[in-house]
Homo-oligomer: 213 residues x 2
């Protein structure tokens, strides 16, 4: 199975601009990307980063490769799907992803040896955080409520769909409140980066948030 990790190299994570500067967002996005690549490697995959711009040599772990494509996410991914090779697509902002959660997704796409055409790990708010595509006619559409759109696209192709129930894969890091999930559940370099940057849990509200020193 081929493994793609789309990455927006320029001006990433704009919805974190209330708590991180542009330089910090670029650095934080790369720390998350590296973490996701290492998780995929630990799950037995060989990640190919599909980046909108060339990356510094130190960004990726040894063994991960890069394809540069500066077109929008959906276009760039679909260009990679014109093949019969089963493809795993994992977003670069999933620092809570674990080898086990990745393996649960790939196992769901291959239930008891019966290939499922599309296996989806939904994100919070209707996104598609990770996806296995085994149907060569399937195309992604990451705009808007992509989880619902991907189900519709699959239905139009009469393709079979499995959904994976994973909090770790559902937690993409887009907004300040998402950082709390990393502080609560993370145990790797992404959490360490946030702590170094002065983030700590704010337990004053109903749900725990973050504040920055």
């Amino acid at each position: 199975m081929r493994t793609l990790v789309p990455f927006a190299a320029v001006e990433p994570k704009t919805r974190l601009d209330s708590v991180l500067t542009a330089d910090e967002r670029a650095e934080f996005a790369r720390v998350m990307l590296r973490s996701v690549c290492q998780t995929l490697q630990a799950a037995g995959s060989e990640p190919i980063v599909l980046s909108t711009a060339a990356l510094e040599a130190t960004t990726l772990p040894a063994g991960a490769s890069v394809v540069v494509d500066d077109r929008p996410l959906t276009t760039a991914v679909n260009d990679q799907l014109t093949t019969d090779t089963p493809t795993l697509i994992v977003m670069a902002d999933l620092p809570l992803a674990t080898p086990d959660s990745i393996r649960r997704l790939t196992a769901a796409s291959d239930a008891a040896g019966n290939d499922v055409d599309i296996a989806i790990a939904p994100g919070l708010g209707g996104g598609t955080n990770a996806l296995v595509v085994r149907e060569s006619a399937f195309r992604v559409d990451y705009h808007g409520a992509s989880y619902l759109d991907h189900r519709e696209i699959a239905a139009d192709l009469s393709a079979t769909v499995e959904t994976v129930d994973s909090r770790q894969l559902a937690t993409d890091i887009d907004e300040p409140s998402d950082l709390a999930e990393v502080l609560i559940h993370g145990d790797g370099p992404v959490r360490a980066w946030l702590v170094d940057a002065g983030f700590e849990l704010d337990r004053s509200d109903g749900r725990v948030g973050v504040r920055r020193r």
Copy 2:
């Protein structure tokens, strides 16, 4: 295994007050409670609702029972934990919970026949949405970041802890944006209630939200 479902019968779901009236919140909370009880029954459990007030006879499905205790959540639950019987505690606001996700939690507490003292399904924002307690000295503390607190309480007892990776169990319904998860992923009476009340997905933002007609 005994199964408890704590329920705040009076003035529930106050953080939904911007989109639901007090009467609607009371009704919606009961629709969710009934749904959780039915899910637990489908998973083979016999739910006992630990309610802060008596409930209308029609609220619960046949077979579910009620214990009334008007003390605060943590106190009422801990009073039920003074026993050696393994206990599953599931919050009443988890309409996405499925029999499979419940079974994954109970299986995690009994991995390969080796009982785990505490198995936790964390909620978003550091909560504890479902919990299996096999250590009779363990006491809950639902205030604040209870997931972290429960891990600390377990560590103080040298109790073993497993965490379950479930989006369905992580999604408690507290805030308006949570309603989007029910519209996206739900397929039962809780989703139907929201649709009847005029809620629909609002796809205009980054993450999908809700609006009410």
